[in-house]
């Protein structure tokens, strides 16, 4: 072997040439690579375009709506009757309806979810955990329309047997069932947060003579608090955006009230009501759904960002 060919080998030129003999010229091998990379990049940007689409559609249509209806009426009045002949566009009844059902759902999901998370993370033997966790996940996988059926045709009749003054459509039944729906979310996210608390912290507390209860409530829960709070906020945001349970079980009467026994209407239920009706697109009645949708989007986005902030800002970092 001559000196020059050894040098060529060392610089890889011979290898290059051999590759070109086998696999064709360089550009023909790399052009498909470029095209594929471009295609994958376009796939990745779909999510950006989705966000741009959502924001611009809501903003564009809401601006058209607010050209006809003053934003002060929208945020200042407490009467919501856009579908009647005497129209009034005060969004507050829809917001109180949404608040009522979401706060109610959180009152159910928060204690139950946190307690079952503590049970799963601190008490349950491995065998029980492996059975209970997937069953809880089934609760999370049930479609909301099924929960709606359950609320209207099982929970409401039950509640009416206990207390006769409750209407067929009411916020209470929807709240309870929505609480059950978001319970797995609270429980599994909180449990994840508790599982990531290091063992040494628990063992230190046990060594000081603490009981299980004291370890759970005074060591593990405070250490995992950022994750637990984030889970609560995410679950609340989910409850605010939930649609079918409240549409089916809570009614379509935008009452400005916090009474859980009477029919109400949430923001999401209102959007469904207009979509199901025969309101022509382009009318002011129809445009209300964009203003309501924008309010919903802003509220849930704010809560999601808050949840992410809690995870980042208050996370305890262990080595």
């Amino acid at each position: 072997m001559s000196f020059s060919s050894i040098r060529q080998l060392a610089t890889g030129e011979a290898i290059q040439r051999r590759i070109e003999q086998i696999a064709g010229p360089r550009w023909r091998r790399y052009l498909p690579e470029r095209i594929i990379k471009l295609f994958l990049f376009l796939c990745a940007t779909t999510s950006i375009f989705t966000t741009i689409g959502i924001v611009s559609v809501l903003l564009f249509e809401a601006v058209l709506f607010f050209q006809e209806v003053s934003i002060f009426e929208f945020l200042g009045s407490t009467r919501w009757t856009p579908l009647f002949s005497s129209k009034s566009f005060g969004v507050w009844p829809l917001i109180t309806g949404t608040m009522l059902t979401s706060v109610g759902a959180m009152l159910v999901a928060l204690p139950l979810g946190l307690l079952s998370a503590i049970y799963l993370a601190e008490y349950a033997p491995d065998r029980v955990r492996r059975v209970v966790k997937p069953i809880m996940e089934v609760l999370a996988g049930i479609p909301t329309v099924v929960y709606g059926y359950f609320a209207l045709l099982f929970v409401t009749p039950l509640l009416r047997q206990i207390y006769g003054e409750i209407s067929v459509f009411n916020g209470l039944s929807a709240s309870i069932v929505m609480g059950i729906m978001i319970l797995p979310m609270v429980s599994s996210l909180s449990e994840d947060a508790m599982q990531s608390v290091p063992r040494s912290l628990r063992e230190g507390a046990y060594a000081l003579g603490a009981t299980r209860l004291e370890v759970a409530t005074r060591v593990v829960v405070p250490a995992a608090l950022s994750g637990i709070v984030a889970a609560f906020i995410l679950a609340a945001s989910r409850a605010i955006g939930e649609t079918m349970i409240v549409t089916i079980a809570a009614g379509q009467n935008p009452n400005f009230t916090l009474n859980p026994f009477v029919p109400i209407e949430t923001m999401t239920a209102y959007i469904v009501q207009v979509s199901l009706g025969d309101t022509p697109t382009g009318t002011i009645e129809f445009k209300t759904i964009f203003a309501v949708g924008l309010s919903l989007f802003v509220i849930t986005l704010g809560m999601n960002l808050l949840s992410q902030y809690f995870v980042r800002r208050y996370r305890e970092v262990y080595e």
């Binding site: 994958l40 990745a44 999510s47 950006i48 307690l115 069953i135 909301t144 099924v146 059926y149 199901l276």
Partner: protein
Amino acid sequence: MAVIAQTDFQKRLNRRRLNGRLFYALCLLAVVIALAMLAALLYNVLSQGLTRLSWDFLTNFPSRFPDRAGIQAALLGSVYVVGLAGSLAFILGVGAAIYLEEYSVRSWIARIIQVNIANLAGVPSIVYGILGLEIFVRFMELGKSVLAGGLTLALLVLPIVIIAAQEAIRAVPPSLREGGFALGATRWQVIWNLVLPYSFPGILTGMILAVSRALGETAPLIVMGALTFVPFAPDGPLSRFTVLPIQIFNWTSRPQEGFHVNAAAGIIVLLVVLLTMNAAAVYLRNKFQNRAHG
């Protein structure tokens, strides 16, 4: 003095232990309540709907008479719309995940996309319905069709697919890629022949979860303009349609008892499909985890 302190301590210890036992009972009770609710839901649906299930129920079209109504149109609509949404979300989602994990891990655009996906996952599904109505139905003039419904649901489940596929791809050991590069493979050859086959079970698990989510969605399709009463099977991508959850919603909100029975029977069909899919996902995940650790 020491004796008094001893008994005092003993008394307190007993109280602490009692509190502990009470708290344990409370935690257990919370789990039992959650499971009991699930049991009540399943029992209620089964006891109401099981007698209504029959071949006729699956193959009939909706009707004014509850005992003649069936779910054929809804079932076919669901298969078409969710099939379309699933295929689109698969291509776009896996493509996006490959780009984010293999091509541009730390670039600014990847970071923006990542934050964006996390926030999109929290947008209420009904907002996607508004997006679908404005962009696909009205702006692109697809009509309130199977195609528009499939596109809407594809965007809705896209974050789920991307996040699952990213995790699956991240779990591929770097040594596998390096081995491929050392043999002279191009980046795409490494991805196609090594990374994707290795991460496929994880991607599939994410896909199953995404499809089961799409299958249960009601609100976005109602807002987008899907029909509630469809006496025909969809015959193409531009055909109008309904889906199973909307049919269930429609029957639930009618006053007649007979339609409630139909709703329960429809729910049984929906839940059987969903639980089968979830079981498949759990099975795949366990298999995948074993291999990853083995």
